[in-house]
């Protein structure tokens, strides 16, 4: 049987998260849909595609805000929506985001299933590649005190080895516990490059517990909540991890940001759509995943050259 390949696009959605995994049959697994204004909706509106599943790591607006627009798109087939409970379901924002999802579920357009540990989202025919949730279990989900504490952690595995980890907004302590000793090719965030527990005493130990080769952070230029956190990026870079942010901040290069000059418009280069605000740095990132390797898109070297010319790129530890 031929080597099956996946294409994973890490989207630039500004402050938020959204990744799209293209399966060998061309259907999509969407991991978080980004905010209400997510460019993913523009892309899907232009060319409706078959969606195998939508996985929402947790129900914050910057991860799930685009859901109503997505489920109401005409011409789209959706298999399953996976989501977990991370807050009171009488919460206004929860109801407002999921009302449209529930309405479409009642029309039998798709199933909505609880996301929890060991939930297999997708598996290749050869079983060499799979996408699985490794956190939270039912009890961990219920016992969590805050929504971010129960954010799901998803893994894309290649022959049992973890290739990509999506921890949503999970605290670093939990990521370290669940992924201890792993060396994934790519880690996203968590929490847009500023883990919620980054001020805790043992934070450095938790960061060191897992050593990704690359960190992708989808972050907004406007730096809501002051993300990404420079210290976290420096620590990752210090461990030899290559850090890439989707957008620039004023701290990286004031001139580019003020003049609205993108470093690299990867959304165009990859045929995707850009967010409506912010100044792109890496923009989107695409990787092709086979059973044995993971290859990034052709724009890596160009981006690196340009980043080195920036004034104080946080990703290179220049603060």
């Amino acid at each position: 049987m031929a080597d099956e390949k996946l294409i994973v696009d890490f989207w630039d959605v500004g402050q938020g998260d959204c990744s799209v995994v293209r399966l060998p049959d061309n259907s999509l697994v969407i991991i978080d849909v980004g905010p209400r204004t997510s460019p993913l909706i523009d892309w899907l509106q232009e060319k409706p595609r078959k969606i195998h599943s939508i996985v929402i790591t947790h129900n914050d607006a910057d991860h799930a805000g685009g859901l109503p627009a997505l489920v109401k798109l005409p011409g789209l087939t959706i298999g399953t929506v996976y989501m977990l409970e991370d807050r009171n379901k009488t919460d206004d924002q929860f109801i407002n985001i999921f009302r449209a999802v529930r309405e479409e579920q009642k029309k039998a357009r798709f199933d909505v299933i609880r996301l929890e540990k060991d939930r297999l989202i997708w598996e290749s025919a050869t079983k060499a590649l799979d996408l699985i949730a490794i956190y939270p279990s039912f009890s961990e989900n219920i016992e969590a005190m805050k929504p971010n504490e129960t954010s799901a952690i998803l893994c894309l595995r290649q022959k049992g080895k973890v290739g990509v980890i999506w921890p949503g907004d999970a605290p670093m302590q939990i990521v370290a516990e669940k992924c201890n000793g792993l060396t994934p090719s790519i880690l996203t965030g968590p929490h847009h490059g500023g883990p919620v527990d980054r001020k805790k005493k043992d934070f450095k130990t938790w960061v060191a517990a897992m050593q990704p080769e690359r960190l992708f952070v989808s972050v907004g230029t406007k730096r809501n909540y002051n993300l990404p956190a420079p210290d976290y990026l420096s620590q990752r870079a210090g461990h030899g991890c290559r850090v890439v942010c989707s957008q620039l901040t004023k701290h990286c290069d004031n001139e580019h940001v003020n003049k609205d000059l993108p470093v690299l418009q990867t959304a165009a280069l990859l045929g995707l759509r850009p967010p409506r605000s912010g100044t792109p740095c890496r923009g989107c990132l695409r990787v092709t995943v086979s059973e044995t390797e993971m290859i990034t898109d052709a724009y890596d070297a160009e981006h690196q050259n340009r980043v080195e010319k920036l004034r104080r790129p946080l990703c290179l530890g220049k603060q």
Partner: protein, 217 residues
Amino acid sequence: MEFLTPNRPSSPPEFNAPRYAYVGQPLKADKQPAHLTEFEFAHKVIPLEGGQQCLRLLKSLRLNINEAMEFEVQDWGIKMDCLQLPELPRELARRFMFLLSAAENEQLTEKDQADWVKISDYIDFRQFSVDRSPPRYQEGFLQTNKEKFIVVWHDGTRESLPPKAARALGDINAGERFSAHVKLGKNDETIGLERVSLLGATSEPAMEDWSAWPTKS
């Protein structure tokens, strides 16, 4: 007085010295320049789809003209006869549309990829995408319709609508929930609303039983 003239010359200048210097053979360029001359193309808005859309440029194009009176658009890989200059916007639009389509279908050759990187530096792709994007479904709550129309969208964002967009909510009362297809502009603001529907009072969705949702398997 010595300290006032520290740089006094040690000897007076030779006013009668020769006013030329021998520099050997006259200087000659080794190579001919790559082009005769170059111009800046002043237009920064390229019409697409018969003017329904446009492509805005972030920087000016440079046209290099050779001795055969042909010009080449720097970084764009377009070469034309000078007499065809009026056709240039059309050629730019065609080049852009070809490369974008090839990128979307993953059919870029290596040379195309290299050209596309250079060309993408000239284009305001965000504005192009914003102009091109159709309105999207959103739900909201009309907080007030006196003087200003203020809406709280389903993600909790509060927005004061511009008058042109607010007109579409004329049939919605303050305190009511609605759905609409919303055209978003640059920086995420609402620039238009259409296909507005009434969703009912704010308390209604909470009446549904959400306790067993989502299902376990």
